[in-house]
Symmetry: C2
């Protein structure tokens, strides 16, 4: 990658105005100014033409296959939305549909500059296969809960399915497995502790929805006499490899607990806004040193997987919420979507920043567009003005996956057509 | 325009799944299903290829030439941002720079599906000329305030300049003039009343910033013993052709006053969020029957002029703010950005919806993209998933201004280069 402003997101915040990044096989082997760049022994040069060269974005929480339900139902009370639309639609899913929906999600994510995502859903082996086929790095895990799953049946089989995923994908260069109990309200204490044990045994992330709504907090308090974070603390599963999505409804004491146990948090501002769940106390979490990643959530409640618009929303939402225009500045939000998301997934040794020795997960941004002109500060543009459609080249694990905004490995028309067919079935089922 | 889902935004909310729109000269002469469409006597057919055909978006509040300051300074306390960055940068402006900045803004707006915008700034004749050259419909007015203006000097000259604009542009098919006193805090009661008289004499909009922050409310209360809306009521200038931008800090009594006098309001959610101004009580205003339009504000505080992302933010922000996921549904927000914005500008007889006899201000959206697949409800996609970059064709006043996402009339490279040069001067001045 040559002729671009290199935004490394390394610990020093290094930026190189006219720089280049050299990749060999799957790794970054050199980063520096163009003046020092030698094209000798470089098999392929990608010219950023004055744009930005940066680490790919990391979507730290989504449900990829929910692309099938994009815009199926909006603007409804939560329970109507879930019971009358999402759950009936989900009941029609199978492995093949999840594969198609996830493949569409991968295409959308890659084209919008996301090089790694974390998924929680049903039939996750199909999601892993879709990510593998699309060439995008992923952390996937089968959702676990107390009631029978359309995929694995009883929870015992759910644990087995998770162990199968771990075993099957353990040597894959881009697919990683996590253990994913749904939430304190859909998982018994026993399920949560068993899931935690599996994650500890394998040293992999434990991912959960936590304190998404006030309603959930009341529910958990009624059942266990404790707020959700205190409930997990009591079960002794707060730990550094726990990744908690949402964390909207937290007390100060719970923020302290999350910080003390180095629990990672994923912020999903657009979904929390659209479902009217509330606003996570992100500045307060950061002040206590909690690692806060960024995610889109599923696109049934967003309705896209666009990390650029998610960054923009995150930066603006907390300013108005705290009445302080200095919180979540552009650099901070960009870290959330890159290196902090990588840390949250336990992948900061290999991705999330451009550093020599790391895997080559790199994107370029075409800044020669009216809405990115002029450019005083690249980080400001990335958060407040750039769009998903400004992504030019996408390299994941050293492989060029997209160029000039087009996918190289996938037949996008065919993927879209498959999901349109699935949507037709869902629509027919819902109008019956 | 053929082969598209036609979203008319007419009073009945008519949508035609496989429809066409016929244009003759500057007007829409026919709208109907493809089966009834005849291509006889149609000089040029634009095929929407299964996408969406809809009225162009109307940006009801911006400061176009502030593209020159896009991303100049962010994430700062309001007074630091204004005094150390925006005001010094504005002091370097002249007619020519405003023309270039506005032309860049017009390019950005057209490419993102905006066919009409309202502007308040200095050197507005240059903005009118830029809009005219770009071919975009505009409502422009010179900003009026108590202190001397770099453009017109004393306020007497400001009124004369406004009269000159009215006279010069009165017969133009796409340029409209408004009278634009800046705000109650920068305009004396005398200035406000004189401005209102000019607007009434000519039957044109009177546009003002109103109650943007709590700080402004305190300021006006200290000076006049009244809240801003009550202050304007006392001056007897509340009226149906008054368009008030922001309206963030309102009491219930003030909402009632705005409703009683049919004052129009422009909501600018992203700017209000970024500057931490607050959240306008849009659902409450609508409940009282106030016409609420949508705008981006200037791109120094946004940092773009993208009405698609503004719609998405508006829809989501009020849901989380009211904790009610049913407020500002997709259809409502789409009306804000089209027909309600047209009403707010006094232009609903000619634009804001696709209806026979109205001026042809039409855009098409390419929906054959991963992030717009599948499509259950077009309105949902337009608000929650579509991006500025999905705009294909833009027709304004019957003229094709953009096709396949490219401007037909303007040399975009040259426009960007001019603004880059201006930015270089601004940067040099600021680092001195």
């Amino acid at each position: 990658m040559t002729n671009g402003t290199v935004i490394t997101m390394d610990p020093h915040g290094t930026q190189i105005p006219d720089g280049a990044v050299a990749v060999k096989k799957d790794r970054i082997i050199w980063i520096g100014p163009m003046d020092d760049f030698s094209s000798e022994n470089v098999p392929k040069i990608i010219n950023a033409r004055g744009g930005i060269i940066m680490p790919g974005l990391i979507n730290a929480h989504t449900h990829a296959a929910m692309t099938c339900f994009r815009g199926l139902a909006d603007d409804l009370p939560l329970m109507t939305w879930l019971n009358d639309h999402v759950f009936p639609a989900e009941a029609t899913l199978d492995q093949e549909k999840v594969f198609s929906g996830a493949l569409l999600a991968c295409a959308e994510m890659i084209l919008s500059g996301t090089t790694c995502f974390t998924d929680m859903y049903l039939f996750e082996d199909a999601v892993a296969r879709a990510a593998k086929q699309a060439g995008i790095r992923a952390v996937v895990g089968e959702v676990l809960y107390d009631f029978p799953s359309p995929n694995y049946g009883t929870i015992e089989n759910g644990f087995e399915y998770t162990e199968m995923l771990i075993d099957k994908w353990q040597r894959d260069p881009i697919i990683n497995i996590a253990v994913e109990p749904h939430s304190p309200y859909l998982c018994s204490p026993d399920l949560l502790q068993k899931a935690a044990n599996i994650s500890w045994n394998h040293g992999i992330p434990l991912i959960i929805h936590l304190s998404e709504t006030e309603r959930e907090v009341r529910n958990i308090q009624r059942r266990y006499g404790k707020t959700p974070v205190n409930h997990l603390a009591n079960l002794e599963i707060l730990c550094p490899n726990l990744l908690a999505a949402h964390c909207v409804a937290l007390t100060e004491e719970e923020i302290d607990l999350l910080a003390r146990f180095d629990v990672k948090v994923v912020h999903n501002p657009q979904s929390n806004m659209k479902l009217a769940s509330g606003i996570a106390p992100v500045p307060a979490l950061m002040e206590k040193g909690v690692c806060v990643a960024l995610g889109t959530d599923g696109c049934a409640s967003n309705n896209d997987l666009d990390m650029f618009s998610e960054m923009d929303t995150a930066a603006k939402l907390h300013k108005v919420n705290t009445k302080d225009p200095t919180v979540l500045d552009a650099a901070t939000v960009l870290r959330m979507a890159t290196i902090e998301s990588a840390r949250a997934l336990g992948l900061s040794q290999i991705t999330g920043s451009l550093e020599t020795g790391k895997k080559a997960d790199i994107i370029t941004i075409n800044t020669s567009k009216p809405h990115l002109t002029p450019m005083y500060h690249p980080e400001s543009h990335l958060v407040y003005a750039a769009r998903a459609s400004d992504v030019d080249t996408v390299i994941i694990n050293g492989e060029v996956i997209a160029e000039n905004g087009k996918l190289l490995k996938a037949d996008i028309e065919q993927i879209m057509e498959k999901v349109r067919t699935i949507a037709m079935e869902i629509r027919t089922a819902q109008t019956k």
